[in-house]
């Protein structure tokens, strides 16, 4: 019977290691904060150039949102960057260990492998909060100050949205164990997620069959609800059903994701594929 302290010690160690690795390359961290601003500015520049004098009016009517377009897009690109970072960190964490040659040592260590994934996931909460502050809070306070109270709710929605995201991350990690090519897979999936989740637009403009796919991706709900929370808390109350869907995803996705990961891991242990890449 292991005590709570014995469980928390490895978790703490993994968490600290992840945070150190993350901040070891400050250039890359800074870049994570710059990308959403750049992408948003690019879309605004392109939109204004093709939309002409009525560009902002067109945008409001096409998206059905009264938010400042820059804020609308920053919420989308901010959540997208956060999800990209999380899915890639969890999905490729095993490959990183393989490349560093520490994977077998970790598997021989007398700790639960689940803690490895949870420790990695926990460290993501820190960077997610920092990105939320640097990208979304900053743009709302600057361009849409009336939406400031909604930021607390928006942060809550983002935190709930992290749970199903971790579940998807576990699926990615399992697929990496099985198919060996993490970055090609995560890159393709992350860009596809941006298309289906309405990063730069409202998902209602997508064809009906794509909207079915969108509905299954948690970031779609996170982006929509965060926009509503900043626009008006009343609008979010009207869409409270989507938060229940997100909560359900938060329970189901990690469970399914981890089950799938365990299945791939078991198979890899039997075939000896675990350390091959």
């Amino acid at each position: 019977m292991t005590s709570l302290g014995e469980t928390l010690d490895p978790l703490r160690a993994i968490f600290r290691k992840q945070i150190r690795h993350l901040f070891r390359y400050p250039g890359e961290v800074i870049f994570l904060f710059i990308i959403p601003y750049f992408l948003t500015a690019l879309v605004v520049a392109m939109g204004v150039s093709v939309g002409g004098t009525n560009a902002f009016g067109n945008f409001a009517s096409q998206t059905g949102s009264s938010l400042n377009p820059f804020v609308f897009l920053m919420i989308g690109s901010g959540v997208w960057m956060i999800s990209w970072l999380i899915l890639e960190s969890i999905g490729t964490s095993l490959r990183d260990e393989q490349i560093k040659g520490t994977l077998e040592q970790n598997f021989l260590a007398p700790i639960n492998r689940f803690l490895l994934l949870v420790g990695t996931a926990l460290s993501q909460i820190v960077i997610t909060s920092l990105m939320f502050a640097g990208i979304i809070v900053a743009s709302v306070l600057l361009l849409e100050p009336r939406g400031a109270p909604g930021l607390i709710l928006a942060f809550g929605i983002l935190m709930i949205g992290l749970l199903p995201l971790f579940g998807l991350g576990f699926v990615f990690a399992g697929l990496v164990v099985r198919f060996k090519e993490p970055y090609a897979f995560t890159q393709a999936m992350n860009v596809l997620f941006a298309v289906v989740t309405g990063t730069f637009y409202n998902v209602t403009v997508l064809p009906a069959w794509v909207r079915y796919v969108s509905a299954a991706v948690p970031m779609t709900i996170v982006i929509q609800d965060m926009r509503l929370a900043v626009e008006s808390i009343n609008l979010l109350i009207g869409a409270f059903g989507s938060i229940f869907i997100l909560l359900t995803m938060g329970i189901v996705y990690p469970f399914l994701g981890y089950s799938l990961f365990k299945q791939f891991e078991r198979r890899a242990k039997v075939s000896g594929d675990l350390s091959k890449y």
Binding site: Y25, G27, E28, F31, F38, A41, L42, V43, A45, M46, G47, V48, S49, V50, G51, G52, N54, A55, N58, F59, S61, Q62, T63, L73, F179, E181, A184, F185, Q187, A188, V191, L192, A194, V195, T199, F200, Y201, N202, V205, L206
Partner: protein
């Protein structure tokens, strides 16, 4: 001459083999690139009333306007991720010292890699045109095929030269990814790849006009979408063609000279394999 051709061919075959060794990367490329296009095209379409064409685009559709900017970006990216990354890849694989000891020119190896990226770029461009045409029911129109071919030739020359400069810079800087992303973003933001330069403020536009790739992006859209589609050039078309030709040759010559000089300096300093 025969020897150089043999070296380029060997480098080309090697690079092709490596490329096909990772089918997942090929699949990812063929999924990711059209997805990027869709993401931005749908995003920008939200700024235009449904079914309407704005005065900025003349009679050209959003699809054609962005398609050519997108093609420019694919080809430009080759200079960074294809040619520029060559030195860093060899450093990471631990084969850079062997290559320097081999009695061949590093430039011919880069040319082999360039030939491979040129072919794969063409495949991706053709595939993207067909796929996006199918998805959006739009056809890719080319108004002036000869002019477009000429612009493509200038662009490829400039890309090769800029790639050589980037490969040389890799000997000196350690944060390759950071620099590569920054350069790509700068070109997208400053060269009018996806929007006309007229929307940029004056001082920024002056910087844009000093970048050779601005004229190549502009001419590509002009020759492809055409004057009839409402696309105009920054300068008089004949003058702009001449400027683009001179600048492309200049970038290539500077790139070649800079790469050779940096290579020699790295050999002297003993920093060939350092990264």
């Amino acid at each position: 001459m025969g020897r150089i051709f043999g070296e380029v061919k060997a480098a080309f075959v090697k690079d092709f083999r490596i490329y096909f060794r990772y089918p997942s990367w090929i699949a990812s490329e063929f999924v990711t690139l059209p997805a990027w296009f869709l993401l931005f095209a749908i995003g920008v379409a939200s700024w235009v009333p449904k079914g309407q064409v704005t005065t900025t685009l003349g009679s050209s559709t959003i699809f054609n306007f962005f398609y050519w900017g997108f093609i420019f970006l694919i080809v430009f990216s080759t200079s960074i991720w294809g040619i520029g990354q060559y030195i860093r890849t060899e450093q990471l694989q631990g084969t850079i010292e062997q290559l320097f000891l081999a009695p061949i020119s590093r430039v011919t190896i880069i040319l082999g890699r360039f030939a491979r990226t040129f072919l794969t770029d063409m495949a991706i461009i053709a595939y993207t045109a067909i796929l996006l045409g199918f998805l959006s029911r739009e056809r890719v129109a080319v108004e002036n095929p000869l002019g477009l071919a000429l612009v493509f030739a200038f662009l490829e020359l400039a890309v090769l030269g800029f790639g050589l400069i980037f490969a040389a810079v890799t000997f000196r800087v350690k944060s390759f990814n950071f620099l590569a992303n920054l350069t790509q973003f700068a070109v997208i933001g400053l060269c009018g790849v996806f929007f006309p330069l007229s929307i940029l403020p004056d001082p920024v536009r002056t910087v844009s006009l000093a970048i050779p790739f601005t004229y190549l992006a502009d001419l590509m859209r002009y020759t492809a979408a055409g004057q009839a589609a409402g696309t105009t050039t920054i300068l008089d078309p004949t003058l702009e063609f001449s400027i683009a030709a001179v600048l492309s040759i200049a970038i290539f010559v500077v790139g070649l000279a800079y790469f050779k000089a940096t290579e020699k300096s790295a050999q002297r300093r003993g920093s060939i394999g350092t990264h």
